[in-house]
């Protein structure tokens, strides 16, 4: 329960920040600090249970039960230690932030900082790998925003940091997925307790490799170490909390957490020890080189993290004791040092060591804090840093792989520790002692000590190192608990300041001696600082790799970057051909046909189709091609009818008619003939086309029609009348079973209609093509539109109401007999197409219905019906009612019918849009005013040679001589 409380309290704190910050401004830190301090006390009070009895606190609640992910929280000694670090150091930093920033609003900062505290607490308490991963990424994201908060200059560092740590996040995700798939559980403690998966050595090595990737990127290990100094673009409280005490410790935590599984895996040991020690040395050497106090502290963090990783890599109980102790020590002294950097920066106006010096006289308290923290960092008794470093040495001496390995590890560690001593000395000496230096010397005279509220948190942190150093045995239960949790063996360690003369003491002494020598030879680092040790630095290497990746991606894209449509259309076809060839090459087992698939009459359709397609391919006349494709469409409709799909055949038939009508409206704006292509190209496309056709035919023959009726089909056929009250099974599928599909389709259709309107509002239609203009004298009777159209108009006049009524009848009966919303809508649309084609002029042809509204209302009707379904439990569930009719009969009413009305409306609306938008001369159905109409029949001639004849006589739809018009006045 306590675990849930902690998480919830933090979550509520995050949510309340916007409100609190409005009142308190920068002092919001006090509020956050109070919450975190209270949590720290609460968690510290659990010590008797967690450390004393060794029983972990747990809490769990189902989160995503379908995939077995639960909100498991668990706090053992390891979790307890890290939670305390997060909340304790967090409280200090929050309090410190109140004085670090100038007065004013700090919403983003506090929101993100508390969010980070929440994420980090969740991370160290999570006992579910999915949860762990989510919190892990959340820390990465908050870090990105917190760095970016510092202004435009911080954006590249923020991105670099983010990409590196996100890379590690991906590695962690990979490990998580592998573990969940292999073990079948997402609970971390179960995965770690059940070690059966570690028997598979290659699998274990892979997971270990991925976890190492996550650890190294998060905890800034070589070669990813450079992101940490890079991230110093963030404000100092952010650096102190995320990049010294908490976030970079997430990698340490993960490494310790997975020690039970990987503690004896060679890849793990080798990688951690080797790279940890390299990082320790690299970080320490670079730290001594820095002029900037903050970068010095950052490189020092890198180095200390390297020590921790190396000692975790040893994997023995003693080593883990050292890791635990040093984690605590480092969190204390490093957060104090970062806060000191902020204090110096704030009061002296710079953190460049070349411009500092002698600050101890002006800022005695800050100097004291810095000294205390640095002594701990350098490993000088009686501070906690001394004790933890002694144990680090002892742990490293126990490196696996024989005595020489231990000696080598110890020697490298002593080297790094010597540099640690040197840069610790440099930190304190160059800033606080000696004479003021540099160009800011004059200004150093006015420097004052910071207010107590500012240095207070830092002093607590630094004093913590001293107190815990003097009373180091109080840490015994903690370090032993951690060793129990990570290695399964209690180390029975008794931490002592003084434990006699032993190799570790000698190593400490040697490190201090060498360090002192280093300080002396390099004038406390000055003669050595700023010199480039390597020809490249991390960020520039990163940028080079980054831009190389981007340009590689662009080059890959260039392979297919062309405006030639045919290339884009042809590539997928060719790829399918290649795949099909591969399948044919390999061969597949094909079951026997499930029944007689061919009937003699079918060959008629095959022949019809062959003729139509051949003609369409060969002709160069647009109109002929359109007509032949129309024939192919009608043949398809016949095929559908042959196959027992009456509704579909009807739909196909109607769509075919309307397609031809719309196409004709377009064709008259285009040349008569198709654009010519070269003979070579025709041959190539013919080869591709024939191959594609053959493959499609073979696939259709070999891969379909070789099984009995599918179970879904049987279900529909057996249950449709009972489930839906309809006997037209296809229609019941459309409006009852799979109404959601239909709704989606409806929306696509409606959007297509709206896009047509939108495109033609922004681009003008082509004028009617010159070649289509009449070349006969204007006195010719074909120009007399009104008399010419009288037959069609009369027919249309009487047919329109009949067609509309019939379409409504088709709509209503669709549930039981052929018909339904689509067919009804298409018939209704054809009625309008007929009146349209029969009209004698543009003005008469225009259908004055607000078709966008019709489309929209259709979608709304369908959606509304869907929402009605919630009354009975789910979206789009049809409701049924028996309505009594006079005579004792009942009419079965279902809301599926209303849904079908929505379908009907959308279909009609889209057809109206197409006719009106494409049909009128200007291409604009509503907006543009037509020229003043002349009296019908009187002004036929005179303007036949204009580019865009607009008077009635030669109007678009009535242009009887328009060679493409199939209906109308002809």
């Amino acid at each position: 329960m306590l675990l849930l409380t902690s998480i919830l309290v933090l979550a509520v704190t995050v949510l309340s920040i916007p409100l609190v910050e409005r009142v308190l401004g920068r002092n919001t830190g006090w509020f956050a600090a109070a919450v975190l301090a209270a949590l720290t006390a609460l968690i510290a009070a659990q010590a008797p249970q967690v450390l004393g009895s060794g029983e972990a606190l747990t809490y769990s609640v189902p989160w995503m039960p379908q995939i077995g992910v639960e909100f498991h929280l668990r706090m053992d000694a390891l979790g307890w230690m890290f939670t305390l670090l997060v909340t304790g150091v967090g409280a200090l930093i929050m309090a410190y932030s109140t004085r670090y920033f100038p007065p004013g609003r700090r919403l983003g900062f506090y929101l993100l900082m508390t969010l980070f505290a929440f994420a980090m607490t969740g991370l160290v308490l999570a006992d579910d790998v999915v949860l762990l991963y989510v919190f892990w990424e959340l820390t990465t994201i908050t870090s990105f925003y917190l760095i970016g908060l510092s202004g435009p200059g911080a954006s590249r560092p923020a991105i670099r940091t983010f990409l590196i740590t996100a890379l590690g996040g991906l590695a962690l995700l990979g490990a998580v997925v592998l573990l969940v798939v292999r073990t079948g559980t997402t609970q971390l403690s179960t995965i770690l307790a059940d070690q059966s998966w570690t028997q598979d050595t290659s699998f274990t090595a892979l997971v270990a490799f991925l976890v190492v990737g996550a650890v190294f990127t998060k905890s800034a290990q070589f070669p990813f170490h450079y992101w940490l100094p890079d991230a110093m673009a963030a404000s100092t409280p952010v650096s102190a909390y995320l990049h010294a005490a908490a976030m970079v410790k997430a990698g340490i935590y993960l490494a310790m957490r997975f020690t039970p599984a990987f503690g004896e895996v060679l890849v793990w040991n080798t990688a951690l020890i080797a790279f940890g020690l390299i990082t320790a040395v690299v970080g320490a050497v670079f730290a001594l080189q820095q002029h900037d106090l903050k970068r010095l502290a950052a490189y020092s963090t890198v180095s200390q993290l390297g020590f921790l990783i190396a000692v975790i890599g040893i994997g023995t109980p003693e080593a883990l004791v050292a890791a635990a102790a040093h984690t605590v020590a480092h969190a204390l002294f490093k957060s104090a040092l970062f806060m000191v950097v902020g204090l110096v920066d704030h009061e002296a106006g710079t953190r460049d060591l070349r411009d500092l010096g002698g600050l101890a006289r002006r800022m005695p308290v800050t100097a004291g804090i810095a000294t205390l923290a640095s002594l701990s960092m350098a490993g000088i008794p009686p501070l906690l840093g001394f004790v933890s470093k002694e144990y680090l040495f002892a742990g490293l001496l126990g490196a696996p792989g024989g005595p020489w390995a231990g000696v080598l590890a110890g020697a490298v560690a002593v080297g790094a520790a010597a540099f640690t001593f040197a840069y610790s000395f440099r930190f304190v000496h160059s800033a606080f002692f000696g004479e003021p230096r540099g160009k800011r010397r004059a200004e150093q005279e006015d420097v004052h000590e910071a207010p107590v509220a500012f240095w207070g948190p830092a002093s607590l942190s630094a004093l913590g190192g001293l107190v815990l150093g003097l009373a180091v045995p109080v840490l015994d239960p903690l370090v032993n608990g951690v060793s129990q949790d990570t290695t399964g063996t209690a180390a029975e360690a008794h931490l002592l300041l003084w434990h006699g003369f032993n190799p570790e003491l000698a190593m400490s002494a040697l490190a201090i001696g060498l360090g002192a020598l280093l300080v002396w030879r390099t004038a406390s680092g000055d003669s050595y600082a700023g010199r480039a040790l390597l020809p490249v630095d991390g960020p520039s290497v990163f940028e080079r790799i980054h831009s190389a990746l981007i340009s590689t991606g662009r080059r890959v894209g260039d392979l297919t970057r062309t405006d030639t449509v045919a290339f884009h259309l042809g590539t997928p076809v060719v790829v399918v051909l290649v795949l099909a060839t591969a399948v044919l090459w390999l061969g597949i087992d094909i079951p026997a046909p499930a029944g007689q698939t061919s009937r003699p009459l079918d060959w008629l359709l095959v022949g019809l189709m062959g003729v139509a397609v051949l003609g369409a391919v060969l002709t160069r006349s647009r109109l002929a091609a359109l007509a032949l494709i129309g024939v192919a469409g009608f043949t398809t409709a016949l095929w559908l009818f042959f196959l027992g799909a009456f509704d579909v055949a009807l739909t196909q038939l109607l769509v075919e008619v309307l397609t031809v009508v719309v196409a004709v409206l377009v064709l008259r704006r285009l040349p008569r003939r198709f654009h010519p292509v070269t003979r070579k190209r025709s041959a190539l496309t013919a080869v591709i086309a024939i191959a594609a056709g053959s493959v499609a035919g073979v696939a259709a023959f070999a891969l379909t029609g070789r099984r009995e009726l599918s179970s879904a089909a049987s279900y529909f056929l057996d249950n449709a009348p009972e489930d839906t009250g309809g006997t037209n099974v296809v229609n019941t599928i459309l409006v009852d079973y799979r109404a959601f599909d239909t709704l989606g389709e409806l929306v696509v259709l409606g959007v297509a209609g709206l896009i047509i309107i939108a495109v033609l509002r922004s681009t003008d239609l082509l004028p009617v093509h010159q070649a289509r203009k009449p070349s006969v004298p204007v006195t010719n009777p074909v120009f007399e539109a009104v008399p010419n159209t009288v037959l069609m108009r009369t027919v249309a006049k009487y047919l329109l109401p009949i067609l509309v009524v019939w379409s409504l009848y088709l709509l209503v009966r669709g549930h039981n007999e052929p018909g339904g919303g689509f067919i009804g809508g298409l018939v209704g649309g054809s009625a309008f197409a007929l009146t349209y084609l029969a009209a004698s002029s543009d003005a008469a042809a225009r259908i004055r219905l607000a078709y966008p509204t019709i489309i929209g209302s259709g979608v709304l009707v369908a959606l509304g019906t869907g929402l009605l379904g919630f009354l009975e439990g789910s979206f789009l569930l049809p409701l049924h009612a028996e309505i009594p009719l006079p005579g004792g009969e009942y009419f079965h009413f279902t809301t599926a019918l209303i849904f079908d009305v929505g379908v009907y409306l959308v279909v009609v609306g889209v057809l109206l849009a197409a006719l009106n938008e494409l049909g009128l001369e200007s291409g604009d159905g509503t907006d543009r005013a037509a020229p003043p109409p002349s009296p019908p029949g009187t002004s036929g001639g005179g303007n036949a040679d204009e580019t865009a004849p607009s008077s009635e006589g030669s109007g678009a739809t009535a242009a009887g001589v328009d060679t493409t018009t199939t209906g109308g006045a002809r």
Binding site: T685, G705, L734
Partner: protein, 102 residues
């Protein structure tokens, strides 16, 4: 067999038209390929059962698979909306030519 031959013819013709110059031919090719795919979906339901799935008229014993029919019905209407949209594009702008070179 017959349906497979029909599909082969339609796909060949459709692909040929799609790879030509000019939006209108592309649209016509797409129409053909669309029809062919619809027939392929019907074929997947099994073409040896060819009775109408209208249970008020026929018993379900030899009724065709209704699910592909519903899919194809939907597909026909969507293909129609795409075709009229593409035709609109062909008729706006300058010409329906899709290539710069002659």
């Amino acid at each position: 067999m017959t349906l497979a031959v029909t599909i082969a013819i339609m796909v060949a013709g459709g692909v040929y038209l799609m790879l030509q110059r000019g939006m209108v031919r592309i649209v016509l090719g797409l129409l053909l390929v669309g029809h062919a795919v619809n027939l392929l979906i019907m074929s997947a339901g099994g073409v040896f059962r060819r009775d109408q799935p209208l249970l008020g008229i026929n018993p379900p014993d030899w009724a065709a698979d209704p699910l592909p029919q519903a899919f194809v019905l939907t597909a026909i209407v969507i293909a129609f909306s795409i075709v009229i949209y593409m035709l609109t594009l062909a008729a706006s702008g300058s010409d329906d030519d899709t290539e710069d070179v002659s």
